[in-house]
Symmetry: C2
Subunit: 372 residues, 2 copies
């Protein structure tokens, strides 16, 4: 390239909008996954919040959404400014590598020096401007030829997130906080989590990646050459009349693999990954207990209420999530989780919120797909 | 009377089918009170169970049902054998004296020497034949000129029932267990209840009365002369074409008073009340905790299930009452009470089951009559 553009001028966001969120059943369904719901009481869905968080970075024309084709109309309805050029529809779920790397491959064809940033559609971030400052710093680092992740400074020894072990400061101009990534670590047990937090070198892995699209694809080519070749084939046809034919032929056979395994971890081992530590509040809203914590509006005493339910609560605490207009009465139930939807009702406690996933698995194996 | 009939030949049952059962909200409603529900999992409603328990005593033509006019079609649908001659419809709820004494007054006009037995439509009795044996004994006692009640031998120091203090055995032929009633006592505290049970002289007041109708009305005339006169006026017109006119004029002004206060207690003080002790299992199904205990069918582990809900329960105990076809998932909730109806959902615990009544009161004062 003769004239190199400024890093932020090369930036383009990707929003992979997938994942059912089994731990949020029966609110979150295959037909209405987590990102299509307002889980914070903000009045907007998580997808809309994510969109609004990203538009100031590079404008509303530089955000590409990857989602299942079954969610096409819901996504276009929720995001009025999304053009179909920036909507990638998956024929079936193929995990994060296929979603993000296809988006990167489509964008790199349109714009060879593009720097992509991938941000999940269903995470909650309170301080949007701090988030954007961190992304801008990450884009500077990415422009030096790195795959950059954002690491959240832990506020507690959570066992619900993976961690990033940060190494030396990289000393990059315009990115004073950027550090090398020593390695990624899986969700720890509580003892390890405590050690991580005490050490000060471990950050929560928020699953955000910022990198030159070409570098990301180059790394993928090394670890998953077949998947890489298949995705390039689709990208080649994407902006042509062959898109549908090629997708139908290639997509169903794609390997399912998380981008953490296909790109992030191998690249970290090769010394190619950097991290920008951040201390904005972030949550992946993994279960209803998390929603109860996040709820900013609708609190009645110690009871968080999401939805428009008429509620009568007496000596009760926890969270009520309502997707109906039924009256809900709670008496003397503490740390309760009640999720009221038209065809399914869940009653559990904050303590058991994680077990909802097991229940969904049980529903699947007992032939209750109709409510999943 | 020249030739006195045998006591059982004079017997006629009355079923006062009233009382919403506020502690069973939202299952039990003004429009669908307790007695119209199957609360035992027997496959029949409490009213149907009561009817079937009574028919062997004197036949299906000798049972009179008193209920609100709004329940007319539901009652006639549930009890196919009930003739409209034996159906007394109240224009509005006027408590137990009006219901039972009007029935007695109507019957005494048809049959001057009738002995009536009043049995609530919403109580649960397991041993029907034992019940009938007790009633037959009570009828023998009633024929000697007594108002007879049935006292249940307590199995625990319940604070949920009133008690009857029994006196001397009356030594009546054909009624070897019948005793004098010293007095009726209100629901006690737990300390008193323990003393009552230890003494052996106290029985649970099951609210059943067996007496010559003429004696019952004579007692009412002494304590509530106006109410007595008004009821006689209605009874006089009952089997004539004036019924509707007289009801419309007289019924709305009737005094509301429980028969315990208007007849039973004053008559006991006058030495006119006897009790037949009984040890069949009896329950007035006062709240959902009681239903959980009574549930004989539909148990899944420690969870009692009433209704046709699809249920997935994991480490949960208590009771689920379902009036919908929604799937209900319970995870890690113990001693829980979940009542799922089309327009209202209740979640509480066995411990707090009695507080449902307060909630219903709160609903009434906050303008939620539509779900009551």
């Amino acid at each position: 390239m003769s004239t190199q553009r400024e890093p932020m001028a090369r930036f383009h966001s990707i929003i992979p909008a997938g994942g059912i969120g089994s731990r949020l059943w029966p609110l979150s369904r295959a037909s209405a996954p987590k990102f299509l719901h307002d889980l914070t009481g903000s009045g907007q869905t998580l997808l809309q919040d994510t969109w609004d968080r990203l538009t100031p970075l590079a404008g509303r024309d530089r955000i590409l959404v990857v989602t299942g084709k079954v969610h096409k109309s819901a996504v276009l309805e929720q995001i009025e400014d999304l053009s179909t050029d920036n909507l990638v529809l998956e024929l079936s779920p193929k995990d994060s590598t296929a979603a993000i790397a296809l988006a990167a491959a489509i964008l790199v064809k349109r714009e060879p020096d593009v720097i992509v940033g991938s941000f999940a559609a269903d995470h909650v971030i309170a301080e949007d401007e701090q988030f954007r400052e961190t992304v801008r710093e990450a884009v500077e680092v990415a422009a030096t030829g790195k795959i950059v992740t954002i690491g959240i400074e832990p506020t507690e020894p959570s066992v619900g997130f993976g961690y990033i072990k940060a190494g030396e400061n990289l000393g990059i101009a315009g990115a004073p906080n950027a550090r090398d990534v020593a390695r990624f670590v899986e969700k720890p047990n509580i003892a390890k989590a405590r050690k991580y937090v005490e050490s000060g070198d471990y950050l929560w892995n928020a699953g955000m990646f910022i990198a030159p699209a070409a570098l990301l694809l180059e790394q993928l080519a090394k670890t998953e050459p077949e998947l890489h070749a298949a995705l390039l084939k689709i990208a080649e046809a994407w902006d042509t009349e062959d898109r549908k034919t090629v997708m139908a032929k290639v997509w169903p056979k794609l390997k399912k693999v998380a981008i953490d395994y296909s790109v992030a971890e191998p690249a970290a081992a090769a010394g190619l990954v950097a991290v920008v530590p951040a201390n904005f509040s972030w949550h992946d809203v993994g279960d209803f207990a998390a929603i109860a914590e996040l709820q900013s509006q609708g609190r009645r005493g110690n009871l968080a209420v999401l939805g428009n339910a008429k509620v009568l609560a007496d000596s009760s605490s926890g969270i009520l999530v309502s997707d109906t207009d039924r009256l809900v009465a709670l008496i003397g139930v503490e740390d309760i989780i009640v999720v009221d939807t038209p065809d399914a009702l869940l009653v559990t406690t904050k303590e058991h919120a994680q077990r909802v996933k097991n229940l969904v698995d049980a529903l699947r194996t007992t032939g209750h797909e109709d409510v999943l």
